[in-house]
């Protein structure tokens, strides 16, 4: 969680300074969801992500240097500078990609699960998406097919209450999303997405169920993105939400909550907590330095791409 938080906050800073220009949809505030789910996944399990991709990549164990380099659109990035912030991948960590089309990767995650169920073994596939995706047809088509064929896929809806600028109650006739999933005969639940242990336990049960080939599950995680839809702003000045609402959610910071609990139970000391932060900051410094000194993709690469796609 802390790695995602500090990475995203660094990106926010670098975007503000004009160092990063690719559109960045920051995950700050939602860290418990990706972390809690991916904790039960292996490298040979698949995760499919969205435009808000950094958190999933980091939680799945992706390399911070390759991620930062991709955000700088450099040739050393995980997608060689051709994808930018919204299109990240890690073959070795089981992240085939992230799509900037809302709901785009939901059926694709189902397809990966179809393949996994055909080859045997106990691999699973996870689709992360937001509440906005629930308005798309692809969502319904994917849920129906996954349930019909009992595929090993876990649908993780990160309900952060907004699809771009639009509050969820203005976009969904039924904003209780897990109830929609229930209609497809999927075991479904709504949980506090800022409680990482709750996400972990719920995710683990759903993943186990999929590993045992008992079918798909649906988890609606209630959470909140601190930053606006895209970029480093908070969107309070634009009238999209109130400072009071933002403050209320910032008080429910998933990282602080966990830290407090761990310290209270004496699993962690304040000193250890700040040591973790220092270590991660150093790692991010390294990632930024790596990204900055990396070359841009050579222009003759465009010729090769053109040839490939002639």
């Amino acid at each position: 969680m802390q790695r995602i938080r500090l990475f995203e906050e660094r990106v926010a800073d670098l975007v503000s300074k004009g160092e990063i220009t690719t559109p960045c949809h920051l995950y700050t505030g939602q860290e418990a969801v990706a972390t809690g789910i991916c904790a039960s996944l292996r490298n040979d399990d698949y995760v499919f992500s969205t435009h808000r991709s950094h958190g999933h990549y980091i939680a799945k164990g992706g390399d911070l240097r390759k991620l930062m380099a991709e955000i700088y659109c450099k040739s050393t990035g995980c997608s060689k500078g051709r994808g930018g912030s919204m299109h990240i991948t890690s073959a070795e960590k089981g992240l085939p990609g992230s799509s900037a089309i809302v709901a785009g990767t939901i059926p694709i995650a189902v397809g990966a699960a179809l393949r996994l169920s055909a080859v045997g073994g106990d691999g699973v596939s996870v689709a992360f998406f937001g509440d906005g995706a629930v308005c798309e047809g692809a969502f319904y088509e994917a849920l129906n097919f996954a349930s019909l064929k009992k595929l090993p896929v876990i649908f993780v809806c990160e309900n952060n209450l907004f699809s771009t600028h639009m509050p969820v109650e203005d976009s969904l006739a039924n904003p209780i999303i897990y109830k929609i999933a229930e209609a497809f005969k999927l075991p479904s639940c709504r949980i506090d997405g800022n409680d990482v242990l709750k996400v972990y336990k719920t995710g683990q049960a759903a993943i186990e169920r999929a590993r045992k080939r008992k079918g798909p599950s649906f988890i609606e995680c209630m959470t909140y993105r601190w930053r606006g839809h895209v970029g480093p702003n908070y969107d309070v000045d634009k009238g999209i939400r109130t400072q009071k609402e933002l403050d209320r959610w910032m008080a429910k910071d998933p990282i602080k909550a966990l830290e407090k609990m761990l310290i209270a139970k004496r699993f962690l000391t304040n000193g250890e907590a700040s040591k973790i932060v220092t270590g991660i900051e150093r790692e991010i410094d390294g990632a930024v330095a790596f990204a900055k000194k990396s070359p841009y993709p050579p222009s003759d690469e465009m010729e090769i791409i053109r040839y490939l796609f002639r």
């Binding site: 051709r82 990609g97 397809g111 179809l114 319904y140």
Partner: protein
């Protein structure tokens, strides 16, 4: 030599692909239906089971995503649209996802996906069951588009498409399904990106593809009776276009008629004309480039209107003759 119908050739290609490569999966509306895809999928589900031959619900966009996801996870997916018109429902997954994936992620992943669409024109099926959409898919970077005109090419191109490793749109025309030709047994490939000269000639090159090839061949016969020697070029692949073959033929004859089974505006015939016009060859032509295609109008239902909507041999022959007289 053994002859098969076009539909049998497709059926044999599918059977051999499923038999020899356990990554191959066939998914799409009607693969178990007795009429949707003709007889092309007959016997496959009985032989290979419903995990490799999947008849999904009508969810074109979702199922296209499923085929992409399976391909990313190691399948060689063949996705069928028994009416090509239904591909419009899946445009997001085809154009935004399948086509872009390889480049967008820096080549980390390939999407080995064959998207098989069938043109169902004729039979009073009207505007939403008759469309020939090759130009739309050929426009999109990341998609290859093939359009065989006979069973031999269909089998070889289908095998090449599945083995290609990235998305190929394989288009066939229902009017081809009962045509017979010699088809070798076993697996063989027809290369993607290579056209073929079906008949050599010296007065005019006719560039065409898919079912229209057969109307052109008949028109060429008619022209021969009038002393006109027609060279017939079958594109076989729309994209990447075999420009070399086209330019070589046009250089030889000095005249060109492009006959496309799609619409004219912004389409395949326009692209071919532009490829010719972009070379110095344009100054050597003995007559202007001539295009024959569907009128820019939705397909009608009535047979009386269908008869004038689709270019037939008479119209093609008359166009060739007019060009020679010019």
């Amino acid at each position: 030599m053994r002859e098969l119908t076009y539909a049998q050739a497709i059926n044999e290609a599918l059977r051999l692909l499923l038999e020899t490569d356990d990554r191959v999966m066939l998914i799409g509306q009607g693969v178990t239906s007795p009429w949707y895809v003709g007889t092309t999928t007959a016997g496959l589900i009985e032989r290979f089971g419903n995990r490799r031959v999947i008849d999904p619900p009508v969810s074109e966009n979702g199922i296209t995503g499923v085929a992409i996801g399976a391909a990313l996870a190691g399948s060689r997916s063949i996705l069928v649209f028994p009416r090509m018109d239904f591909m419009y429902l899946a445009m997001d997954q085809i154009a935004n996802h399948a086509a872009n994936w390889h480049a967008m992620f820096g080549g980390e992943y390939c999407v080995p996906l064959t998207i098989w669409g069938i043109i169902n024109r004729g039979g009073e099926q009207a505007a939403q069951h008759s469309q020939a959409l090759q130009a739309i898919f050929a426009h999109i970077p990341g998609l290859k588009v093939v359009m065989p005109s006979n069973g031999y090419d269909a089998k070889g191109l289908l095998i090449s498409s599945v083995r290609d490793g990235n998305p190929v749109v394989f288009i066939d025309d229902r009017w081809l399904y009962n045509l017979r030709c010699v088809v070798p047994e076993g697996l063989y490939q027809v290369p993607i990106g290579k056209g073929a000269v079906l008949r050599e000639g010296k007065d005019v090159s006719v560039i065409t593809s898919s079912y229209t090839v057969h109307e052109v061949l008949k028109a060429a016969d008619e022209c021969r009776g009038k002393g006109i020697s027609v060279e017939v070029v079958d594109l076989r692949t729309i994209k990447p276009l075999d420009s070399e073959l086209i330019l070589g033929s046009v250089r030889k004859t000095g005249r060109v008629v492009i006959v496309d089974g799609g619409w004219k505006a912004f389409g395949v015939s326009g692209e071919i004309a532009a490829r010719i016009a972009e070379t110095p060859l344009i100054r050597e032509l003995k007559a202007p480039i001539c295009r024959l295609s569907l009128p820019d109008a939705p397909a009608p239902a009535s047979t009386a209107l269908e008869d004038v909507y689709y270019p037939r041999k008479e119209q093609i022959a008359a166009t060739i003759q007019r060009l020679l007289e010019a």
